[in-house]
């Protein structure tokens, strides 16, 4: 029996809906995998950033401590005198 246009469109619509559903599922899985991967990278990057911040704070504290020492202050004065005398 010849298929009517309505029957043909029903069939095409259903067939395409199944394809779209399969594609949507595959896309969700793919996007989820990439999202998980991106989140992992983000966590790693944040952790590394935090680590570097702590390291930076530590170095900064050490530098300040050094600049406040008597030896550093004396060396700075000698350097200023040298510059003033043009040596």
């Amino acid at each position: 029996m010849k298929e009517t246009t309505e029957e043909q469109l029903d069939r095409l619509s259903l067939k395409q809906a199944l394809v779209d559903a399969d594609m949507a599922t595959a896309r969700v899985i793919d996007l989820t995998e990439r999202l998980v991967d991106a989140r992992r990278q983000l966590v790693d990057a944040r952790s590394e950033l935090e680590h570097l911040r702590m390291e930076y704070a530590q170095y900064k504290a050490e530098q300040e401590q050094m600049q406040n020492s008597a030896a550093y202050r004396l060396a700075s004065k000698i350097w200023a005198v040298r510059n003033a005398l043009g040596l």
Binding site: T5, E6, Q8, L9, D10, L12, S13, Q16, A17, D20, M23, A24, R27
Partner: protein, 394 residues
């Protein structure tokens, strides 16, 4: 499938409907008087489960009265899936091409021949988009577009004149525009259907066309075909079902990611002057042909008086000659022409090939004096002077 001017294609016109009853009736009426010429066409209405009570029943009734096919989806599919249904049906039912048409349009009698011609002439064209008052960046602007469909036969006349001007001309564009786009089924078989990720949006055609370009096809604008497009129809209605702006931005981001060259292609085309050149030719053709057929009026005025007087073909010039150009208008279309050395009257007469029906002089100035003198010399007695005081306050 034949090729060239001998070809006779079987074309499916798929009208995508989602409510918008005020547009559907006039659109169906325009489809009913299409003259496909050597081609054959069938119209299929795809009602995407219009939600307004009774809307689908009325649509079905109007459709079947005109002998068109009607199909209502059991549930709302969204724009890309509804378009896909049309494309898949066209492929399976053995059509040579499908025209995807929004319901907020009114088509000319020569729709099929003008839109299909570029597809027949070049098998590497994957889509043709109609020229319109509202066709994204490719529009032929009009001051009062809704008036175009209030004048019986005007859309047909415009499209005939543009067909005479442009014949089979096809201008390559980075993407078709979905309100009225024709695609050969052979390209659909190669490229596939619209990506449903662009649901509730309007970037699906960009994606489809760009996908086709990556396979060696190109998309073209057919300036020989003029379709009226209200531009507030199906996409806006279905788009408004979600968070429209956020969705549009997301779709744009997908396009930018997939086709980084798309924006630059668009900017290159727009800055090349190609589209402006087509617009200029189109407006010139419309105004000159209307003036030849209906007669015209020459006005010397600083102000655009009686701007709603669309039916008359008007050539307007600044009385002082401060702006050495003639601005011509007809049915909301506008085009400027440079004034030649032999004066305003001679310039217009050379363009149109006959004298004006009437000259209206609203204010004084060099051009006004020259025109009066020329009219006197040529014994044109239809000169109306209206200068009780200055036109402009300052």
């Amino acid at each position: 499938m034949l090729s060239g001017s001998e070809a006779s294609w079987r074309v499916l016109v798929a009208l995508l409907v989602y409510d918008g009853e005020e547009h559907v009736g006039p659109c169906l009426a325009s489809l009913a008087h299409m003259k496909p010429g050597s081609h054959s066409s069938e119209v299929l209405i795809l009602d995407d489960a219009s939600p307004t009570p009774g809307s689908s029943d009325r649509c079905r009734e109007m459709t079947t009265d005109l002998g068109f096919e009607y199909y209502r989806s059991p549930r709302n599919l969204g724009i890309p899936r509804n378009k896909n249904l049309a494309m898949l049906h066209a492929v399976e039912a053995g059509y040579d091409a499908v025209v995807l048409l929004n319901a907020d349009t009114q088509v000319p009698a020569n729709l099929i021949s003008t839109l299909i011609r570029p597809l027949i002439e070049n098998p590497f064209v994957s889509s043709t988009t109609a020229w319109s008052n509202n066709s994204s960046v490719y529009s032929l602007p009009n001051r009062d577009p809704d008036h175009l469909v209030q004048v019986p036969g005007l859309v047909d006349w415009l499209s005939e004149e543009l067909d005479n001007e442009f014949e089979g001309q096809a201008t390559t564009i980075p993407s078709g525009v979905g309100f009225c786009m024709a695609m050969p089924t052979s390209a659909i078989q190669d490229v596939g259907v619209m990506d449903p990720v662009f649901d509730r949006g309007s970037s699906m055609e960009i994606d489809w066309c760009q996908r086709s370009h990556s396979m060696g096809y190109r998309s073209v604008l057919a300036p020989a075909c003029f379709v009226y497009h209200a531009g507030s129809g199906i996409e806006e209605a279905e788009g408004s079902m979600g968070d429209g702006e956020r969705i549009a931005n997301t779709h744009q981001a997908i396009i930018d990611d997939r086709y980084s060259q798309y924006r630059s292609q668009l900017l290159t085309l727009l800055s090349s002057g190609t589209i402006d050149g087509i617009r200029e030719k189109a407006n010139g053709r419309i105004i000159i042909c209307a003036a030849r057929e209906k007669g015209y009026r020459l006005e010397v005025s600083r102000l655009h008086q009686n701007a709603d007087d669309h039916d008359a073909v008007r050539f307007r010039v600044d009385p002082t000659g401060g702006v050495p150009a003639i601005t011509a208008t007809y049915e909301g279309f506008e085009q400027s022409f440079a004034v030649a050395e032999d004066g305003v009257l001679q310039t217009v007469e050379n363009l149109i090939g006959k004298s004006p029906d009437e000259i209206r002089i609203f204010d004084h100035g060099r051009f006004a004096q020259d025109l009066e003198a020329d009219a006197k010399m040529l014994a044109i007695d239809r000169v109306l002077r209206r200068t009780p005081y200055r036109e402009q306050v300052l």
